[in-house]
Symmetry: C2
């Protein structure tokens, strides 16, 4: 209804739809290093993280809001190219906030919509459900995080009322599967996931930034091309993940467990 230029953006929610919101920080020296990535890449990356969360809810993206601290080292051309990267993904930018700072900081909010009551959650897997991943893992980690996956928006929407639980693989399978199993009150038993050509098994398990979907379902309801079955949800200690029968520690990226920089 009303975009950039007023105190607030105004949005008229479509009737019969729930709205979903996600917010993601992208910080210089934390999520990337200056000079390590082009401004377009960083723009795409800023929004990709949020769009992947929207996909994991089975939602359709509606608009985004971008708060950006423009770094002192960035020329006008850098800023233009960064915004080009954000806008390339086709989601309307409805507003945001701008400031100047020594280092770049971006925070993106993406709003999506999903038919009422059909949002896919993490905490609703059932014992006996099959566990799927939507594609091979480890691509980003094996390429020094210079590769950017494509958010699985169409698949997420197709999984509504078919998947019992869903999460996106942004921080690594070992951590994200733990994050689905624990609130569902279940354990997960898996074999090795499909590995991206050139990536190691460790990169596929712990690397993160794959932006594939991890979901649970009755396997009869999931067409083959939607993903690869890697295991089964079981009764057991909530949050436990077993790989080939051995405990798999949640080694994916967690800011507060292991503060460190990642390019």
């Amino acid at each position: 209804v009303l975009g950039i230029g007023d105190d607030c953006a105004v949005f008229r929610a479509p009737p019969g739809q729930d709205l979903v919101f996600t917010t993601d920080l992208l910080l210089e020296d934390v999520h990337f290093l200056r000079g390590d990535a082009s401004p377009e890449f960083l723009g795409r990356k800023t929004l990709t993280r949020g769009l992947s969360d929207i996909a994991a809810m089975g939602a359709r993206p509606r608009f985004c809001l971008l708060s950006l601290a423009v770094p002192e080292w960035a020329a006008d051309r850098w800023i233009e190219q960064y915004f080009q990267g954000v806008l390339e993904l086709g989601v309307p930018l409805a507003g945001g906030d701008l400031a100047r700072a020594a280092k770049m900081a971006a925070d993106i909010v993406v709003c999506g919509s999903v038919p009422r009551g059909q949002a896919l959650r993490r905490d609703t897997a059932r014992a006996g459900d099959a566990i799927f991943v939507s594609g091979p893992l480890g691509a980003a980690a094996s390429q020094g995080y210079r590769h950017l996956g494509t958010p699985r928006l169409k698949l997420g929407q197709a999984l509504r009322r078919r998947a019992t639980a869903c999460i996106d693989l942004s921080d690594g399978l070992s951590l994200d599967l733990h994050r689905l199993a624990e609130p569902s009150g279940l354990a997960a038993e898996i074999g090795p996931p499909p590995v991206f050509p050139g990536a190691t098994l460790e990169q596929a398990l712990d690397g993160g930034e794959d932006y594939e979907l991890l979901f649970t379902a009755d396997p009869r309801r999931i067409p083959k091309r939607w993903g690869t079955r890697i295991g089964t949800m079981r009764k057991g200690k909530a949050g436990t993940v077993l790989l080939d029968g051995r405990p798999l520690p949640p080694r994916g990226y967690d800011h507060f467990a292991r503060p460190r920089s990642r390019p």
Copy 2:
């Protein structure tokens, strides 16, 4: 419907309401200096800026999302007290993002709701409208920005269908009145505004962070206690502001016009 802990927060929009969204950055060394303010104060300040935007739209706050880069220098107690400051204002925190970084960066999104089509805008003032401010100005500037105003949420809601345009005074009267006059295609003629005891006229005009409302209306529709009339909207060069007949330059806070630190 679903709060912190999933990929997204889920919100069911009330029927017949438009949703409004605002996003505000609060950055260390840009908006405040470490040691200059208590964590509770910074928490309240983070949300106050957004709530004031919600007030300016005539909306009611519904929930907020907070992205926070926790600075390396902050102990757990600091973080707790910061969140206490945010939560003190009574707006449900529905989600967000957390990271560790060298300096603090917070971005808050506030969602509000307003009856369909009744959001107050900046660009809808009419020639002949009276110009009002909701209270005396300059309090924050006269106290080194250690004073925090209260967002005028009730007044904003009361102004629906009475004010013709509205903006909150976050960056200073001289700049914010320009920002209302320009998109409305009008000039503004004012006399001196009410000045907070102890503040100078310059602080009242340019200081900012007052969080009072600046609005235009037919004066017969505005009860006296809602504000002080300071002038009239006139045909003329769009965005011009005259104080006692002389041009008043938009000297309020603008990150890109005058990059500088403010405590």
